[in-house]
Structure formats: structure tokens, C-alpha cells
Amino acid sequence: MKAGYSLAGKWFMNGDNACAEGALAAGCRFFAGYPITPATEVAEHMAERMPQVEGIFIQMEDEISSVAAILGAAWGGYKSMTATSGPGFSLMMENYGLGIMTETPTVIVDVMRGGPSTGLPTLVGQADVMQARWGTHGDVQAIALAPNSPQECFDMTVRAFNLSERFRTPVLVLSDESVGHMTELVTIPPAGEIELVPRRVPTVPPDKYRPYAVGADLVPEMPRAGQGYRIITTGLTHDERGYPVLTPEVQERLVSRLSEKITRYKDEIIELEGFQLDDAAIAVVAYGISSRPAKRAVKLARAKGAKVGMLRLKTLWPFPEDAIRDLSKRVRAFIVPEVNMGQVSLEVERAACGRSQVRHLGCSGRIHKPEEILKAIEEVRG
């Protein structure tokens, strides 16, 4: 289906506002959030814009309630979103897990800043990548997208909504302070050119409805409240009827399906961007804001004759391990610049499995200078 509305045109817009506009174009009509630097602009923009599109904005009392509210709104049949940064993201983890367990489509934007704890409210970080994957308790599969520009904040937020409906799960947008506060040209297509994935609603009448029965793609259909389907949801381990059944067998069946409904379709989820990789002996693996100085560094190195390219991870979770594995068979080394002490680099090491050298290039509270990445390339090149 096509979008019903978008702020079509060319705009000079920051990443946070572009996230909000992406959500509105995707049909999000419920936003619950709590002020937090550097994600506050998302909430501020939603406070202004939601009433214009007959949507609902509510500023909640904290981030815990913000996630709970967007889950409730999703069960009311709405597309919903919240936005936060590190400390709030930590608070959201339990109800993010409820969203996974109850298979509730919704979108959580994390505009990453420096941590741990209060850390650097106004400065960039990329250290929530592992939290996005492992932050909620239990066995889960996360879907997380990493924009590197305001344009991608728009595009990827639309995509996040589509993935959340396609897989009936909360989807994370891992933006960062630099991307969120950066102002650039954002082109918003007319609504008729934006493709949306509609919610898969029950095709059977209420008396035939089995809440967590699935077909071949493992994703159940989702009614909304008030339609007579007598919805039953629980964060407890449950069977196809939605009834709590606390046995190892039901746990294994449920958790395996929740995992497999995503892992089986990882190629549909994962988006990558290769840059000068064809003949590369060294691959820079970068995402989010770090991919921008990295690209510049690759260009500088190429000018000096280095056979180096870049693989940009537009999707962080599920991790594109197949792409890294394939590359590891033909590149000598990976360089992973990220604004943390080593997170995606660990995944690259895992996928490269010793076939290539993996060099993490960390920094804190700032983005890399292209020259720093260039220096690492030259050191690896020898």
C-alpha cells in the first residue's frame, strides 16, 4: 500500500526531525516520549506535527511508560513510536522485551550519545549497539537500522515501520547525536511514492482466531482491540492460543519461532552499501556517522594507491555476518572505526573467524577524523 500523507518536498532538516517526518509518512499516529538530549527534537517535532495529522502526542512521565504506551497504542491498531537516548534506552529495555514477546509492531529510535550512565548528553556515541542486541533479558533477535544522514533518518524510519509490520516486532533505529543534530538536505517523496507494509490483520472471524498460530513465514496475524477478537497477550511464555504455559517444550517452541521469524529472513532485512570493495585488500567496516569520515579516508587512501574499500552497515541487527564472512575470504584486514571501545568490531571478528586481521579503531565523544582512519589504513597496509 502507499502512504496516505508525507511532507513532500526538499527540506533543510536535522536528523531528529527527519526521523519524526519518516514516522509520519509511514503512518505513525501515536508518539509517546520523554525529553532527553539528543533525542528531544524528535518529541518536539512530534508535539507540533501530530495534531496536524490527527495523531496523538503524549509526553509521558519517563521512558519506561513511553514504551508501554506505544505498545498499548499498537494493540489499539495504531502505528506508534518513541525516541530516546542512552539512559532512556536502558529504561526501555524491559518493555522492549514485552514488545518482542507479544509480537507488537512499533519503532524505538535511540539517538546515541556518550555513556555509560549520564555520560555525554550533548556529544556523540555509538556504544548502544550491543545493548540494542542484548539489552533486554532472554533470547531475542533484534532488528536495528543505522542511518548516517538526515535523509536516511527519514528513509530508515519509514523502513523501520515496514519491518515492524512485516515481522510483527519492535524495530530499533540506532541514530546518533551527530546524525540527529546534523542539518542537511532531506528529500521527502510524495505520499504516493512511499511504499508501506500494512499490518497483517486476521482473515478469519473471531471464533476461528488463534492468536499465535502461524503460517509458513512464522508471523501471526494481529487484530486490534475492540473488534471482538478477545485479544489475549502476556509476557509469560504462551502457546498458540496465547495462554500461559510454563513448560520447557512451549518455551522452546515459542522462543525458537520468535528467533527464526527474523533469522530466516535476514537477507530481506539486511541492507549494505559497498564502496570500492571490488579489488580491495583492506575493508573498512563502518555504520552511522562513522561511515562518513571512513568514506573520506578510503578516498584519501585510494588517491595514494591503497587497495581499500568500505562496507557500510545500514543494518546492524541481524548482523550481516555472511557479507563479512565472504569479504574475509578476500581481504587481508578489516578496520572498524566506531565511537565506542569495540562493539561491531567484535561481530566482525566473529564473522571473519580468524581469516582476516580485524582492527578496531575507537574514539569517544567525537567522530573520527578521516586522517585517523587513513593512518590506520596505512599502518595495516604496511
Binding site: G4, Y5, R29, F30, A32, E48, M50, P51, Q52, V53, E54, I56, I58, M60, E61, D62, I64, S65, S66, A68, A69, I70, L71, G72, A73, A74, W75, G76, G77, Y78, S80, E94, N95, L98, R224, A225, G226, Q227, G228, Y229, R230, I231, I232, T233, T234, G235, L236, R241, Y243, P244, V245, L246, T247
Partner: protein, 301 residues
């Protein structure tokens, strides 16, 4: 002992036993509201003498009495013994996380203003871990009916002290007697902004049915406190006796007082328990103030 209030204890009828030993059954067809309970969900996990079965029945009767169609009513619960009410009712029901039933219900209620959303949860869920959400939902005068089952302890985890445990009462985490001052829930809900506040015990059956029926029909934040026996977690360690004796204990100390200042709604289980409908006032709801508040926004669709 696990601090997670949903961790099953090996108490008779507790879920640790239920999953292994008990065959799923429908409610007996002799139960007058048989069709309001989900098929195959009986027996419930609650202990003999617990007040929750009665409260579930009163809720069903209250909704029926209100005349509101069943499929326009949703129930949201948190975690704990009371948190299990939602899943037994054959109605749109949401069993959420510990303390977060109210914000979940907030999202649901705001996008479905035509529905009546009830939160049924316990005193620990709503006033300890979820206390912040309760006071803000009351402040906003959201369209919610909150039924708080107050049994003076954490029952599901086996009888720990909670925000309502009376001074000196014994629990597994106050083995020498509780030395914390308890909340007066009805007073607190009112102070935070609730526009309808009532308190009854589980023996006040007809009063509770009327109160639930009235609350579910009205708009704004309604708070109903129900004092419920918990013979396993509270009655036994405090030598109150069986569930029935605990019910009678509360009933005998009850004094009915309507329309009083909620600060005077005393709850002293050793002296007197003031019950009744304390507050029923009109105040614009969040939904209304929101719609009016954003009416100046220029519509683009």
C-alpha cells in the same frame, strides 16, 4: 527466594504446580458467567480463600450491569496474583510488565477513546514499582478505571512486605515486623488527581458491583481500592486465620462513609477501615483537554 513477583512458588495451586499437574478445564457451566471466562483456563492459580476470584466475578457483573458491550471493554494488568485476572477474562486482555499496566492502558485508551479500559492490578504493582505511572495517570485524568486489589503484601512471590503492609505486620521480608509506614492508596489517588475514588472489601459484593458499573460508564480517572484477603501471604503469618476469617476481619472493621475528604478515609486494620465512595467529581479528561489544546493546530490531512 526470587525478587521477581511473577516467579512461581511451590504453593498449592501455584503455577509451578499448575503446569505439571493440573488438566486444563473450562469453567463449570454452573458458573453463572461461564462464557466470560476463557475456555480451558480453569482452575485458576489463586489460593483457596483468596479474594481475586470474587473480584473477577464482581468485575464481570459490574461490566454487565453497566450495559457497555463486552467488546468495548479491555482489561490491562501488571504482574502478580492480580495480574492474572486479565488472562482469565474472555475479553480483550493484556498481561503486561510489572508496574506498567497503566502506561500500556494509556496508549490503548488514547487511540481507542470509544473503548472503556480497565486496569486491574495489585497494590505492589500499582503503588510500588508502578507508583509513578499511577500518580501521573491520575493527574492527567486519563479515561481509565483502575481497580487496585490491596492484599497488604506481595502474594505471588510468597508474602513479602509491600507499600501497603501495615506497620508491625509480619511478612517474609519483615520477619521482625514491618517498620515502614504504609500508603493510604485511596487518599493518594485522590491527591494525585483521581476524579472518582472508592474503597470496599471483597465482602461488599453489591457495593463493588455498583461501583465498578458506575466507574466503567464514566469518563476520567476512576480509582477503586478493594481490600482482599490473602490467607497464604498475609493472613497466616499475621494470625488472622483463613481467607474467610480474613474477609470477616476486614468487614467487621469497616465503616461506610460516602463523600468524605479522602484524607479521612482511615485504613487502620487494627482499628477501623473506612469504606465507601469518597469522591465523584467532574473534571475535564486528558482526551478532552488534549483535543481542545491542539485545536489550533493547522490540519494538513
Amino acid at each position: 527466594m526470587s525478587p521477581d513477583p511473577d516467579a512461581a512458588q511451590a504453593v498449592p495451586g501455584g503455577e509451578a504446580e499448575q503446569s505439571e499437574m493440573v488438566q486444563e478445564k473450562d469453567a463449570p457451566t454452573t458458573y453463572p458467567r461461564y462464557d466470560w471466562l476463557r475456555p480451558g483456563r480453569m482452575p485458576h492459580i489463586w489460593c483457596s480463600g483468596c479474594g481475586l476470584g470474587s473480584i473477577t466475578s464482581y468485575f464481570i457483573e459490574g461490566v454487565k450491569k453497566s450495559g457497555i458491550p463486552r467488546d468495548q471493554v479491555a482489561v490491562v494488568s501488571g504482574i502478580g496474583c492480580t495480574g492474572r485476572v486479565a488472562g482469565y477474562l474472555n475479553i480483550d486482555s493484556f498481561h503486561t510488565t510489572h508496574g506498567r499496566a497503566i502506561p500500556f492502558a494509556t496508549g490503548l485508551s488514547l487511540v481507542r477513546p470509544e473503548m472503556r479500559v480497565a486496569v486491574i492490578s495489585g497494590d505492589g504493582d500499582l503503588f510500588a514499582i508502578g507508583g509513578n505511572h499511577l500518580i501521573h495517570a491520575a493527574r492527567r485524568n486519563l479515561d481509565l478505571v483502575v481497580i487496585c486489589v490491596n492484599n497488604f503484601n506481595y502474594g505471588m512471590t510468597g508474602g513479602q512486605l509491600g507499600p501497603t503492609t501495615p506497620m508491625h505486620a509480619r511478612s517474609t521480608t519483615s520477619p521482625y515486623g514491618n517498620y515502614e509506614h504504609p500508603f493510604n492508596l485511596s487518599h493518594m489517588a485522590y491527591a494525585a488527581g483521581a476524579t472518582y475514588v472508592a474503597r470496599w472489601t471483597t465482602l461488599h459484593a453489591s457495593q463493588l458491583i455498583n461501583t465498578i458499573s458506575e466507574a466503567i460508564k464514566r469518563y476520567g480517572f476512576s480509582f477503586i481500592e478493594v481490600l482482599a484477603p490473602c490467607p497464604t501471604g498475609y493472613g497466616r503469618p499475621n494470625k488472622i486465620g483463613s481467607g474467610l476469617e480474613e474477609m470477616k476481619f476486614y468487614k467487621d472493621k469497616s465503616v461506610v462513609m460516602h463523600n468524605i475528604e479522602p484524607s479521612e478515609a482511615v485504613l487502620d486494620i487494627h482499628d477501623r477501615i473506612v469504606v465507601g465512595k469518597f469522591v465523584d467529581i467532574e473534571k475535564p479528561t486528558y482526551y478532552r483537554t488534549m483535543k481542545e489544546g491542539v485545536s489550533r493546530a493547522k490540519k494538513v490531512v
